[in-house]
């Protein structure tokens, strides 16, 4: 029978390094994706994901299974991402005082669209749509962005997301509704096309 995340973490606490390896394999991709969608920078996302694992590893001796492992891990990730976004915002403001050319967003690594042998045109359309979605998500207020990412892409339970964001479940549901409402308006070209189809 597969061990739960909590059991794996307790084994790490007992000195079993292989259990940490299992947690790493299980969560590195979701974590990198979550962080990438939060900060919109692959290098920063990877660095932050490593920092999350490092903090989990450092805290192994004090680990007590008071909450779900994912709640704990994504709380660390969310806090790191929010700090990074705020730091980066300050940095961008400083840079924009000095230079007016280039926003920096254009220099992001392009999204990796799954390879299903599409035509060049299809690939371009898919890339544009993905960019549009990414931009709309990134335009959300930080807490709403984290809530949408944890709900839509990580599929965490409401109590877990509320635990990560440190708010009540009812507040979270309102937060999610407002976030999806904003996205519905921002992504109207994609949404209305789908509804009509």
């Amino acid at each position: 029978m597969a061990r739960t995340d909590v059991q794996l973490m307790l084994d790490v606490k007992a000195g079993d390094e292989a259990s940490f390896e299992l947690l790493l394999r299980k969560y590195r991709t979701p974590l990198v994706n979550f962080l990438y969608r939060m900060v919109r920078d692959t290098a920063v996302a990877e660095d932050l994901a490593q920092e999350v694992f490092l903090r989990v590893y450092r805290a192994r001796d004090q680990y007590a299974p008071s909450a779900k492992f994912t709640t704990w891990m994504f709380r660390i990730a969310t806090n790191l991402a929010l700090n990074s976004v705020r730091d980066n915002r300050h940095r961008r403001m400083e840079i924009s005082m000095d230079q007016t050319v280039g926003t920096g967003e254009d220099e992001q690594r392009p999204l990796e669209v799954p390879d299903r042998a599409p035509s060049v045109e299809q690939e371009l359309v898919a890339r544009c749509r993905a960019e549009l979605i990414m931009k709309a998500i990134h335009g959300l207020p930080e807490k709403q962005r984290a809530a949408v990412l944890l709900h839509k892409y990580q599929e965490l339970d409401y109590d877990e997301i509320a635990g990560v964001l440190e708010c009540s479940e009812s507040a979270l549901k309102s937060l999610l509704f407002r976030a999806y409402e904003t996205l519905r308006v921002e992504l109207a070209p994609l949404v209305n096309n789908s509804v009509r189809a």
């Binding site: 790493l24 590195r28 991709t29 990198v32 994706n33 990438y36 969608r37 692959t42 996302a45 990877e46 994901a49 490593q50 694992f53 490092l54 590893y57 450092r58 001796d61 999204l111 990796e112 669209v113 799954p114 898919a126 749509r129 993905a130 979605i133 990414m134 998500i137 709900h151 839509k152 892409y153 339970d157 409401y158 009812s170 549901k173 309102s174 999610l176 509704f177 999806y180 409402e181 996205l183 519905r184 992504l187 994609l190 949404v191 209305n192 789908s194 509804v195």
Partner: protein, 184 residues
């Protein structure tokens, strides 16, 4: 936010339930309530459809994979972490232990050392003094000893300006405390 005026309250109440209804996590009673409202409210029904469509669009966002160097980089960062020391982890560093011991020793030494030392007169001096002078000196010494044993005498400059003590000279500067005037 949406819906007709008549069902405005119901539409507002739907806001907190719509997301969990659409993602299939609503409890049966709530699901039933939402379905009833959607059946009656065209606006909300349309909004629910748009939310479904939005979620399909959000699925188009591709996933990225960690770079091949991710694990190796993390392992090297973990390897750079200080190793566990078990019990000794809780012990303070030797430097700190030394500093604390030295601090305690200095505190004990300072508290046990009198601030004012009276230098005993030499045997030749004491033998030359008259009995009256000797008695006066004993009285002065006992008086001074009483002052010396007071717990706080750091501000000797201030204290020495009091009339009762003005005749006392600074002990460090004199070898023998002067006898009081009355004794003379």
């Amino acid at each position: 936010m949406f819906g007709s005026k008549n069902s405005g309250k119901q539409c507002a109440a739907l806001e907190s339930k719509l997301v969990e209804y659409l993602d299939g996590r609503a409890r049966p009673a709530e699901r039933h309530a939402v379905e009833e409202h959607l059946a009656a409210c065209a606006d909300c029904r349309s909004r629910a459809e748009e939310f479904r469509s939005l979620w399909s669009a959000l699925d188009e966002l591709p996933s990225i994979s960690p770079s091949p160097a991710f694990d190796a980089s993390l392992r090297s960062r973990i390897a750079a972490e200080p190793a566990r020391h078990g019990f000794w982890e809780w012990m303070p560093s030797p430097r700190l232990v030394f500093a604390m011991t030295a601090l305690v020793a200095v505190s004990v030494w300072l508290s046990s050392t009198p601030r004012f030392k009276t230098i005993a007169p030499s045997a030749s001096q004491s033998s030359q003094q008259s009995p009256a002078n000797q008695a006066a000196q004993i009285t002065a010494e006992s008086d001074f000893g009483m002052i010396r044993d007071l717990p706080e005498l750091e501000n000797f400059d201030v204290i020495s300006k009091f009339d009762a003590l003005s005749e006392l000279s600074v002990p460090a500067a004199t070898s023998t405390p002067e006898p009081r005037k009355e004794a003379r």
